[in-house]
Symmetry: D2
Subunit: 379 residues, 4 copies
């Protein structure tokens, strides 16, 4: 078996693959709407919203979709660069003429309430936040961010990248008064890549009718209207709808709270293994370390060499360092469909990879640390 | 068995479904590039080009991709409205500020060389053409269009929608000197919907570096660079790549010429059935009738009623009339993975559907006409 | 698409294939029993029994299983040779030393109550009957057989081959007081071949403990004991259990009466097509013609030539004449997962095959006869 | 992911599942023979024979098939009871009236050349041997057995149960002059359960025509004749043939020697883990310990309790003690499609299971021992 332990795309459960392995349906026929309606109902639960609009569309263009429907060229927004995906989110905004006040942070730190408090201004039309930085393994406390916004008395649109958090980490769209939360199918939702998914507040929908940014494929209006009937404006990825429905049923069967607890248990096991290896996490604040992936510094070894060894010798895919971290960190994904033994296999494989690369490592030590945590923590 | 006889998405062969029913791979790992390279090599054959750039991306946004990379707001282009998809292609262009000279045609007619000759002007930066109008079942002769362009002495970019033609009807990108040909995965390529596929000339690639239309997801630059290495700029729909590879291998095993001949045989069989029913084709010029779908007038019956009957009683999905043709025509898709007996089942089902709807029909007459053609024409 | 219109194995619905396309489970673990229990409960409904023992085992050895558990070498039984499978059932019995009084019948006739009345004797330990002769397309009236047995005052074990009837034609194990009914997975149960399935009366179970015929794999004792717990004596074909469960759920969703009515409608449509072709059925008594397959005489053509043409040119597999009927008849299967349009495709393909073979045929005439029946008969 | 680490059925690779997930084919049509021929050619390679007859049949009745075709009631044979499956093989023989001289051995010991030397007599018509005892994890040296037979000057038929060895451990049918080697699909051949597979010498085929044991389904004659044409006497499990072909292609791609070396590496890793746990193997002679499964004594714990914990808490299925060993040993399967990280996961899971059951265990110690072996042994 191949171990796919990158921070997404994640392993697709057999049930989900099977649900997609079926004849194509008529996308204008009467069988599809029930699927779409069920998906949207279940996704509302995962996003933590009672009534926000949930949009589904093919392609992995959720950032662009979120931005072109809510911002005009010339609008000013606030963002914090604490990782590659935060940086790219800003890049997309700038492509469309948005003026971004980009506050630099160490890659490996979370965005703090105090950061927001210090930087947010009345003319910021939106705040762009990455909930869980996939490049660094850091989770930002969105409840804290919301509190800081409220305390400041401003009211920017809150645009959140939830790509590697939704479905693995708790998300509370309504409680945090998020305006747009965006994700893809291929992370905590346990699907193959290919779908963009957005959750949109009423305020953001109003913005979408007001802004004049040129758009067609990404234009929310026709999507909202079609989805309300269970259809899509053009030909949607119908088979992926069947898969997503099955994945959402699986989350529901396990229970969202159990899913979050499982990720917390797996994440803690991985962090204890890293500590047992005497290696450093990229994330310094243990309270902010991500439960869906873990990035580890490698000073004594080119991280890409480690990845090549685990992939070619052990059938283990790990994530490399992205952008400025390339070669200096490796990332272990532990999100989506994953259990304790798979984490032990991954940790055992990292240990073997380090040994095979000639790096010092006590074989079994990280595995044992994770095992001890798993044995003690209730499943 | 359910008969999906809409003009796409088409039936996905078992082999193709199976090729996608597999664990997700690392999209940055070393297994994916060989798949991507093989796909692009085979797609060049289907597009009929030796060296044009073939782009693959998730989503069904091929129109937008073709336009935002080649045209600026304010550019003037020529188009002919001979069906719903030609009309929509123009709508997308206008969203991005392109000025369109849109010549009205009867829906059901092809674009003729004489149309181009009469309307093309020196300041037309591009000519937008739908090769095979899915709303009407009409194929435009692109060789004739190219000849008319050349005769006129102008040199607009030739942007072609090949959605319901590629892989079913002959396409000659190099010979016709097309600049951008665009399609989706779900028609003649026998895949589920979800992928945008473009074939791009060197001239169009140069245009893409010159125009300043805001874009990120659709921006060709990073896609071209990544695909050259067998990767994609962000997370691509990896499982669909495996499926597309298998579908292209199937086209190759049958042989493109045999594929085109099969569609010609099936299309002629369907047209003879329509004639045997004494009903009218939407397409008046038999030379221009599409071999991938057939649209038929219904004067004595609401076409949507026919569709409801065949879907609910006979497990047969047909295409309805689109836009202004809604309720007045029905469309039979006969593209992609399809053989003679499936066409007989479809025709037999249409006959039964007409009878069940109370419309006059001699049961078996259309089937017999198709059978006679199939028996006489060499397979 | 390939049309598999042999009289079994039949087309396996996608849902059933998907249910089998899954990781192997621990055959001694706690997940399998629920599957087995559900299968046995549902199969009782299909067999028409409240409490008889339903046995499942790998292999296609149901005849042998039925015989070696109920008969001793030297036991005398009655059988009627009205087709190849009736003949083979006897052959198996003779292999194990059973003395068979085999009454010859025309291949194409049913076993009549009067046949039983005339031939059954007090020393016949069992009566062997094929419910639906797959080689000839003839259904024997088991209610009539049971009445004739009762009228005669004897009480042989009633051993019934229900291979091509169960799940397609009504079967009433309890009402007809059958002792063993045997079938395979690959016909009306819509599964791939590979499973033997038996329904066994209490009296037959008692016989199984009394007879001394050497057996191990086929021995009912351990099978009965293990299945009661949801397990099997050795390693069972676990994936096929998942498939069978799904197939039985499908029968239940459609409703057994609706399934039987569908087969009656399809069978009548096929017979009307044969009449429209002016060709002869092998079965002379219309009341006894099978609703799951139809055998047709070919005087003017080698039937095997027709089969070669439809298979190679039309992707249509038909059944040939078996045994002494080889080359002289062809058989059309219309059992299992099948709808009206698939039957039209099959009939249209037979017509084309006859035309391509040079035999006289009015194309479309049989199709039209079937269509007329389908339109008039309520679905 | 569920870890299926019982000593078979083993994990079925995705490629194999996909190869079976396909429409049923006409079992008398012209597409199946090529599949059957390829399977038989490849199986000859796995059995290590140039020309022996390889038989395939549905059902898991290979023992019975081997015995009823080669032995008469009253024939005398020699067997050694060194495990449950050796014991059952004898039980089957006795059911058919064969007289068995059954030599008792400790369960956990191999059959030695000296055992054969001491017990084999001129009137032993056959020697029954289990190559790899699945109940104990012990491999008998068949080359040594053959040498002992030859040295003794007798010439019994050599009937070998290769169920849990074939495809995982080296097998040399011709070199060892085996007469019948039997196996199932669900172990080293990486298929779901359901197929019986036998390799038969010319001498055994001659015996099959001489013996008069009653049989029909198991009778080799019709099977040999049909398989030579690529068919089967009755309806074979066609989809499983496609799966088996794919599995055999996979063995060929990896290379049989590499497959055997992989199993040797995995088996040694497991044994080192057991030693690191300070627990006892059931097999005392390290030279004879099986590379496809390992049985471990549990003195301080009910083995079934361990199995319940690993199954319910860790998604890990292990094998329990069979027969007289029930509750006292557990068995780890490491055959078929398996790599090093999966073995680490299994070992880590056993350690956690022991800890959760309250048994003393140093977490990570066995994992580390296996890792050390894997790092040092070339892959």
């Amino acid at each position: 078996m191949h171990f796919l332990q990158i921070p997404g795309p994640t392993n697709v459960p057999e049930r989900v693959l099977r649900a997609m392995d079926r004849p194509v349906v008529d996308h204008r026929g009467d069988r599809l709407p029930a699927v779409v309606h069920e998906i949207r109902r279940r996704l509302r639960g995962v996003f933590g919203t009672a009534a926000a609009e949930v949009l589904l569309w093919s392609g992995s263009a959720a950032w662009e979709s979120a931005l072109v429907n809510t911002l005009r060229a010339g609008d000013r927004v606030l963002s914090f660069n604490n990782g590659l995906f935060a940086e790219k989110f800003v890049e997309v905004a700038r492509r469309f003429g948005v003026v971004v006040d980009e506050v630099q942070k160490r890659w490996g730190d979370a965005v703090l309430a105090s950061d927001v408090d210090a930087a947010l201004r009345a003319d910021h039309r939106a705040l762009l936040i990455v909930h869980n930085e996939t490049s660094t393994g850091v989770t930002t406390d969105l409840a804290g961010v919301r509190a800081a916004i409220d305390a400041g008395g401003h009211d920017p649109l809150l645009l959140v990248d939830a790509v590697s958090s939704l479905g693995s980490l708790p998300f509370r769209f309504d409680e945090w008064r998020v305006d747009v939360a965006l994700t893809g199918s291929q992370k905590g939702l346990m699907m193959p890549p290919g779908l963009a998914i957005l959750c949109v507040s009423e305020r953001a929908l109003r913005a979408a009718t007001a802004v004049d940014t040129p758009r067609y494929f990404h234009d929310w209006g026709p999507v909202v209207a079609a989805l309300a009937q269970g259809y899509s404006p053009a030909t949607p990825p119908t088979l992926e709808f069947y898969g997503l429905r099955e994945a959402l049923r699986m989350l529901d069967e396990e229970g969202l709270d159990a899913v979050y607890a499982r990720h917390a248990r797996l994440g803690e096991g991985v962090r204890r293994a890293v500590a047992a290896w005497d290696r450093q996490l990229l994330c310094h604040d243990l309270e902010r370390c991500s439960n869906s992936l873990t990035a580890v510094w490698l000073d004594d070894l080119d991280a890409n060499q480690l990845l090549r060894i685990t992939a070619s010798r052990l059938e283990l895919d790990l994530g490399g360092g992205l952008g400025r971290l390339n070669g200096r960190v490796f990332r272990m994904g532990h999100l989506g469909a994953l259990n304790e033994l798979e984490v032990l296999a991954m940790l055992g494989g990292v240990e073997m990879g380090l040994a095979l690369a000639g790096a010092p490592v006590d074989l079994g030590r990280g595995v044992a640390a994770a095992q001890a945590h798993f044995v003690q923590s209730p499943a």
